[in-house]
Symmetry: C2
Subunit: 87 residues, 2 copies
């Protein structure tokens, strides 16, 4: 499945979230990662993040797409990074 991950975490934990995100996904923009993951990889990513974040303060959103056939990405302004998995 295709995963879009958007994180909103305290600055004290941003570096750890970035490091973990990069292990599984491609950095797209400040606070956004994307990539194709298996269910098992997604479960591992979630477990790794759960160990890092403070669940009462931080928030990480995942958009899970079974197909990217109906997905289009557009950018206004600076294109900071462009994953190659779709488009």
């Amino acid at each position: 499945m295709y995963v879009i991950m958007v994180y909103d975490v305290n600055v004290a934990r941003v570096q750890k979230v970035l490091k973990t995100g990069r292990k599984y996904l491609t950095w797209v923009q400040n606070s956004v990662f994307e990539g194709e993951l298996t269910e098992a990889q997604f479960a591992r990513l979630q477990r790794a993040l759960q160990k890092i974040i403070d669940p009462e303060e931080d928030s990480i959103l995942f958009y899970l797409l079974r197909t990217t056939a109906y997905l289009e990405r557009q950018t206004l302004g600076v294109i900071k990074n462009e994953p190659t998995q779709f488009l």
Copy 2:
């Protein structure tokens, strides 16, 4: 179409981007909006944002979905707001 908007703009322009985002979409999390828009509404939103952002410094990402049938949202940590349009 369903629109997910993630913005990364200089703090000097965040309030204007927030105000414009809220006119068209639902705030979901720090720097994330979502909602159902027509093509015409999306074009207006883009034009409004283009007037606000500095295209050499700011970045706004749009994920456009022709259907939310293959989309699922999951959250780790704090659920800051939950749009009602899907799930």
